[in-house]
Each structure stands twice: as C-alpha cells, then as structure tokens.
C-alpha cells in the first residue's frame, strides 16, 4: 500500500469498514511512515473533537404550539386515552422520556458506527477501482514521486528514521548515574540504565513521543528506542510521563505486566511496599498482562499490588475513605459488608468504579453493586439486570458508555 492509498484508506480505517488484512496493512504503514502517521493523527483529532459536539439543541418552545394548531386544523375529531394522567405526572413522564431519548441518541450513534462494516463493498469499489479520473491521476503522480523518492533514499532511511537513540537527558537538579557511575553525559543509549540520587531530578526527551520526568531515587533502563517502539524498564522511584503519541508508541516494562501509553500524561510511582501507583491525568493508559489489558482513563488512578494484582480503578478526586475501601477489597474476607460500605460511601461520580468492581465480585455481591449503580444511573435501554448479572460484555460496555457520558 502506498501513501496515497493509505491516505484514502485511513478514512475507512476510522470507519472500521476495512477487512482485517487492509486494516493491518494500514496499521503497519502508519507506524513506518511519519507523513501518513501525521495524517492519521489529524483524523483522529478530528473525531475526538466531534465526540465533544453538543448532542442536541433545545428547540424554540413555540414549535410545539404551532404543530398543535396545525393538527387542530387537520383533524376534526379528538380522541384521547381512557386513563388521563394529572398534568404534573404527564410533564414528569415527558421529561423522563426526553432524557431517555438523549441517551438513545448517543447509543444509536455508537451502534451505527459499528454498523459501518456493511460498507466494505463500497469501500473496495472506490479503493481499488478508482473511477474518478482526477483521483487516478493524482495516484499515478504520487506513485512516480514515491518511486523516485524510494530509489534516492532507500530502505535504510526508514530504519534511520525509526532509530531515535540516544535520548537526550536534561538535569533539573543534582547529578545522576549512568550504569552506576556518575555521568555528565546528556545522552542515554540503548541498554544503559540511569539513576537519580536523593537530591536530583531530570527530564528525558523521547524523540517524537514525549518526555519522562524522573524524580529523585528513581532507576530506569532503556530497552528499545525506535519510533513506534520505545520501551523502558522501570525499577524504582517515581516517573511522570507526558506523551503526545496517539498510537501505542511507548511502553514501560515491569516483571509481570507492561504499561502501554496511548497518548497520555501520567505518573507511575513505587510506594514503600513495592506496590505501584498509577495516576492518569490526561488520555489513557493500558495495563497489559499476558492475556488481557485493562484501560485506565484520565482522572482515574489504580494500585498494582505486589507488581501483580491490579486494583479497581478509582477517580483521583474520590474521598480517601472510599479509595481505602476499594483498595481493601482484594484482601477482604467479608466482602458483603465491605461492599455495603463501599456503596454507602460512593458518589454518583464513582459509578464507573463500582461498575469495574462489579466484574470482580461474586454473583451475590453483584446484586448489591447493581442496585447501587442503578440508584445513580438507571441501566439504559438494552441493559438488563440479568445481563449484568451474567457479565454480558456488550451490556457492561453500553452501561459504561452511558455513565461516562453523564459524568
């Protein structure tokens, strides 16, 4: 696939209307080609912006009166329901239904996006059999340019482009050690480790990706330094990472799991008991184990106990008492009593934490959490108690999206 094809294909990439092979080809291409990666980022940013578009606009109140007048002139006979509600009940019910319609609108938009898979046929027509002459000419012109470019620069250029070591180091305070020796070099090479001391702090620049701020008494080793594949091993201390990459370009390796960066600003800190605190300020971060990945969203935090067990994520602004209860769940024996406490302390903003916790608890305890979450955010259309009890992934996702939107 060449760049021009990818540029068109990227639109379908986002619409999820590509087959797996084409999707993989584009994915592979944008990891290697900085130009197409930029295009990808722009489109991604556009769609992210659209998510914030106002869901609906309040219509002028006179419309309903005008429709009423219009209907009156069209119909001679008025028929009404046998059971007549009081005006207050009617208005309450209408307002409730309006809210449901808003929720439905959001759900419908999400579902419709998934339905785009039906467009595959349309995609292949325009993609491989470009009837548009102008588009074909542009493609040919680009192909010609691309061949000249390839001959001149060659495959080595891409490899050179991808290799981004050494990383630059900028000391903020004090001195630091490289491979155990005090160093004044401002470069970090592959397979080297860097360590800050009691009174030192520094910033490492990860080319085309972002920065790592190392607090005092922190140790990091650089394992891989290529665009699209930057990996460090984090041994101790505290790091603040700020990246602007949208693809998983940056990874922090631990013994039992990896932290995958999806374009985020976050802090990773070892506590006194060798547990890891992860706090995501912006974007989201994945905690990837052998067969699963947990996503931690912005303004959420979690603890990775003994570098193995990932706690239920909680909001960073949640009350301390609530956070302690959530963290104590993993080691608690009387879970029913604990869940009652958690439910009592939870605020509506903590509903997603409860929903995550619901996936971990027994079927009996699930009832408690289902009720607590429902009190804050009733299950939307398409989500049932039975479905949640059997942890139906689609229903959990639907409810999650419904709550997230309202929070």
């Amino acid at each position: 696939m060449n760049c021009e094809e990818v540029k068109i294909g990227l639109n379908h990439f986002f619409d999820e209307s590509l087959d797996d092979n084409a999707q993989a080809e584009i994915d592979e291409h944008i990891r290697k080609c900085p130009h197409c990666y930029e295009e990808y980022k722009k489109l991604r940013k556009l769609f992210n912006t659209l998510k914030d578009l106002q869901l609906s606009i309040e219509p002028p109140i006179v419309i309903i009166d005008d429709i009423a007048k219009n209907l009156h002139s069209k119909s001679s006979k008025e028929k009404e329901p046998n059971e007549v509600e009081s005006e207050i009940d009617r208005l309450k019910r209408i307002n409730k239904e309006k809210l449901k319609q808003e929720q439905l609108l959001k759900t419908t938009r999400l579902e419709a996006r998934k339905k785009l898979i039906d467009d595959k046929k349309g995609y292949s027509t325009v993609y491989y059999n470009t009837s548009n002459v102008q588009k074909r000419n542009r493609t040919l012109l680009f192909l010609f340019g691309f061949i000249i470019f390839s001959i001149g620069i060659g495959f080595g250029y891409f490899q050179f482009q991808r290799d981004n070591s050494p990383w630059k180091i900028k000391s903020e305070v004090g001195t630091y050690l490289i491979n155990g020796k005090e160093s004044k070099s401002n470069k970090l090479d592959i397979n080297n480790s860097i360590q800050t001391e009691n009174d030192s702090k520094l910033i490492i620049n990860v080319p085309r990706t972002g920065t790592i701020r190392m607090e005092s008494n922190s140790t990091v080793s650089l394992l891989k330094a290529k665009s699209g594949d930057n990996v460090i091993y984090f041994k101790s201390g505290s790091l603040k990472i700020v990246t602007n990459a949208d693809l998983p370009d940056f990874k922090i390796k631990f013994t039992n799991f990896d932290l995958i960066d999806y374009g985020a600003s976050y802090t990773v800190t070892f506590d006194d008991f060798n547990n890891i605190d992860l706090l995501v300020e912006f974007g989201y971060v994945g905690i990837r184990k052998a067969d699963s990945e947990i996503f931690i969203n912005e303004k959420y935090s979690c603890k990775i106990v003994n570098r193995k067990i990932v706690s239920t994520p909680f909001r960073t602004d949640a009350p301390r008492e609530f956070i302690d209860l959530i963290l104590s769940y993993e080691k608690s024996e009387n879970t029913t009593e604990l869940l009652d406490n958690i439910s009592n302390k939870a605020r509506p903003e903590d509903a997603l934490t409860l929903l995550e916790l619901l996936k971990k608890v027994s079927a009996v305890d699930r009832q408690i959490l289902f009720q607590s979450i429902s009190n804050f955010f009733p299950p939307p259309i398409g989500v049932t108690r039975i479905g949640i009890m059997r942890l139906d992934p689609d229903m959990l996702q639907l409810w999650w999206e419904d709550i997230e939107w309202q929070i």
Binding site: F47, T49, L53, P60, I64, H72, K79, G122, T125
Partner: protein
C-alpha cells in the same frame, strides 16, 4: 438495531395512530430535540430549522400508521426527517449562512461544519455525526452513488481538519 422503544413511547404511538392529538403532541415533545438539532445543523438557521421541524411533525402525523416497530421510533422519525430536510435544502438557493445570533455560532467545530459546502455538510453530518452508513446516505440522495458519497465525505473531512486541527 437492538434498541427498543420504551413502553411509554409505544403507548403514545398506539394512541397517535388512533387519532389522539394530545398523545401525538407528547410524542413530538419527547422526540423533537433530536429532529430539531438535525434540522438546525443542516439549515444553519433557527427560522428554517423551526419551519422544517414543524413540517416534519405535521407530515408524520399523517403517516404515523406506516410506522412499524421493526426499528425504534426515533430511528424511523430521523429517517423521515433526513428525507424532508434534503428536499427542503434542494429547494433553497445554495448559499447558506450560519445564524450569527445563535450561541453555537461561537463553537469552533459547529462553525467549521457550517462552513462546509451544502452537500459536504449533509454527508459529513449524516455520516460522522449521526452515524449513517455510506449506503444509507446514498439512498437519501437519489443522485449520488456510494463512491460519490465517500469522495464528498473525504473532501469534507479534509476541510474540517484544516479548520479545526491544523
């Protein structure tokens, strides 16, 4: 579509089909926001959006017996609305200006959408905002096949990127 109408919506639809005006007006009130939003984004004028919304609901009153619960009422209604709005837009001159008095005029994304050409705006809103497929959009247009819809959409996205991303 996995969504179902709520019992109350079904109740209002059944009564509306028997000619109960008040029930139909309740149904209008519940569903109007979504229709009006679509009308406003496509016509860019509060006056035109109100006019088209009124026409849509007046027409639906006469055709509500055609509604069957194979799809949710809101989806059926939106499809009716899209067809009516496209007819309305075809009947108007091609120059549209965003209502400067409207609060959304100051929203960068809304303004960028409003600045698209008429057909680009329709395709962009229907596909990227409302979630219609290329195939569904080409059916709304009569004179556009799927390839043309895709080309228009790609062009519209490029303009949107220039306006709000770059």
């Amino acid at each position: 579509m996995s969504n179902q109408n709520t019992n109350y919506i079904n109740y209002l639809i059944d009564l509306s089909k028997t000619g109960a005006r008040r029930s139909y007006l309740d149904l209008c009130e519940i569903t109007m926001r979504n229709v009006y939003t679509l009308c406003f984004r496509l016509t860019l004028s509060e006056k035109d959006a109100s006019e088209v919304t009124k026409n849509i609901f007046s027409n639906v009153w006469e055709t509500i017996n055609n509604y069957t619960p194979d799809e949710t009422f809101s989806v059926w209604l939106k499809n009716v609305a899209v067809r009516d709005i496209i007819v309305f837009l075809h009947s108007k001159p091609s120059l549209y200006e965003f209502d400067k008095q409207h609060p959304l005029y100051n929203d960068l994304t809304e303004f960028a959408i409003a600045s698209l050409e008429k057909e680009e705006r329709i395709v962009f809103i229907l596909h990227d905002v409302e979630g219609y497929t290329y195939k569904e959009i080409s059916k709304f247009f009569f004179d556009k096949n799927i390839d043309e819809v895709i080309s228009i959409l790609i062009e519209a996205r490029q303009k949107m990127i220039k306006a709000i991303v770059v």
